[in-house]
């Protein structure tokens, strides 16, 4: 390897970070629009987490320490946000939104290395929205996630799950981010379905 070759690679790194900033700026805008829609429907933001790995290392800790993965410092590679309601209605609503920049991420115990992932061309960037209502005590939401993850790709968008003594009504919307090219696409394909679900108050 020569210095020139490395210099070209680092040029790509600079371009990559600039492109990632542009991507994350737009993903933040999508989430902000969903936050507004949720707030109009009495759903409050509950929190976020990096879906596949830990959140960024805190300020006073070594993010570069032995055994630390690099992934936690890239949290928006795959991020999930959740909105919940304090509603006392019988079917309590909950909205989970996951934005995956790359669905090729695969873990094998060691720190995942992108060179081992499926080729990027064979993967997609996915917005997954889960609109749920629950009735009954102590819903194990990790269990709900697992059950919904296991659904066949061609399964109905809506389903009812029995989770312990509770029931969960879920509607899933998985959308390739590439479908959001048109200026009205976010409203049409994302915000309106979420708003309709939220306003369709069950008995």
């Amino acid at each position: 390897m020569t210095d020139d070759t490395l210099s070209l690679a680092l040029l790509d790194v600079r371009r990559a970070y600039r492109l990632i900033h542009a991507y994350q700026r737009r993903v933040c805008d999508i989430l902000a629009a969903l936050d507004t829609t949720a707030a109009h429907n009495q759903l409050a933001f509950h929190g976020w987490y990096a879906t596949e790995f830990d959140e960024p290392v805190r300020k006073g800790k070594r993010f570069f320490g032995t055994g630390q993965w690099t992934w936690p410092m890239l949290p928006m590679y795959d991020v999930t946000c959740s909105w919940r309601s304090d509603s006392t209605q019988r079917k309590r609503p909950r909205l989970d939104v996951r934005v995956r920049a790359d669905n090729g991420f695969a873990t094998s115990g060691e720190e995942p290395v992108p060179a081992d992932f499926e080729p990027a061309q064979a993967c997609a960037s996915i917005l997954s929205i889960r609109m749920m209502r629950s009735k009954g005590p102590g819903v194990n939401w990790d269990h709900v996630d697992s059950r919904l993850d296991e659904r066949a790709p061609d399964a109905d968008a809506s389903c009812v799950l029995d989770i312990g003594k509770a029931q969960v009504w879920a509607t899933c919307l998985d959308l390739d981010l590439a479908k959001l090219a048109a200026p009205d696409a976010l409203d049409r394909l994302v915000l309106r379905p979420v708003n309709s679900w939220a306003q369709n108050t069950p008995e």
Partner: protein
């Protein structure tokens, strides 16, 4: 102050720089402070175009004459006051013909009772002037639809931001600068237009060669030149035999 604020230079005196952006009074000051230095005709026209009336009313003309800007005036409550001590609208513009009350919210709800109290107090202070009320930002604007006590308007912050950007472009440079500062403040508080996701294509250089394989072969930490201490650490540990012979060695 505003420049330091919008350029995030106050982090060291604040527990969290994000805390500041949860407050509505600095937002009011940072947006309408710069605008108070522009001609009042610009602000009047901006509000008239951006605000939406509750009910069948239209934004009045601004008559010529002096205009007074009152930030957080402390008024004695009128009869409709639900505040017992004082009424403090965020901003009032006193024109020769109107009392314009601007009530700003950031995350909280706009309150019908608060509007009634402000209008009632304004009537006590300026009995002969028609009153206008504009609810800027916040939530629950729908609650203000019912029985407005005066000509009443709704204005989300994002619509104000859009109006500022559109209208300032044709104004003299000093107005543009003030409008830009107000827009920067709105952005700092999170009120900016949404960037369409599809515009990401403009950020992507299609001729860009992907060089990740070069970086994959680059291991600067393991390839670095070893100093004496690193070399010592990398030595094989001594064997038991060599340690025992060393312990028998007594050169003195």
């Amino acid at each position: 102050m505003l420049k330091a604020l919008t350029h995030r230079k106050l982090g060291h005196v604040l527990t969290s720089r994000h805390d500041l952006y949860t407050l509505e009074d600095p937002l009011t000051s940072s947006v309408f402070g710069p605008l108070s230095h522009t001609p009042v005709s610009f602000v009047w026209s901006l509000l008239g175009k951006a605000a939406r009336p509750f009910g069948p009313t239209s934004w009045p003309q601004l008559e010529a004459g002096p205009v007074e800007w009152l930030f957080w005036p402390s008024w004695i409550p009128g009869r409709a006051g639900y505040n017992t001590q004082r009424v403090e609208p965020d901003l009032v513009l006193l024109t020769p013909d109107h009392v314009l009350i601007l009530e700003m919210k950031h995350n909280g709800p706009q309150l019908r009772e608060q509007r009634s109290a402000q209008v009632s107090a304004a009537r006590g202070h300026y009995p002969n002037r028609p009153i206008l009320h504009v609810a800027i930002g916040g939530t629950h604007h729908g609650d203000l639809l019912r029985s407005p006590p005066c000509d009443s308007y709704s204005l989300p912050w994002r619509r104000l931001e859009r109006g500022l950007r559109q209208m300032a472009s044709t104004e003299p440079p000093y107005v543009q600068r003030a409008a830009k500062e107000a827009v920067q403040a709105l952005h700092a508080w999170g009120y900016r237009g949404r960037i369409e996701f599809g515009s990401l294509v403009k950020c992507h250089d299609k001729s860009w060669p992907i060089s990740s394989e070069v970086l994959a072969a680059w291991h600067p930490a393991t390839a670095r030149s070893q100093g004496p201490f690193d070399a010592l650490l990398s030595l094989e540990p001594p064997t038991a035999a060599s340690l025992s012979s060393l312990s028998l060695w007594s050169p003195a």
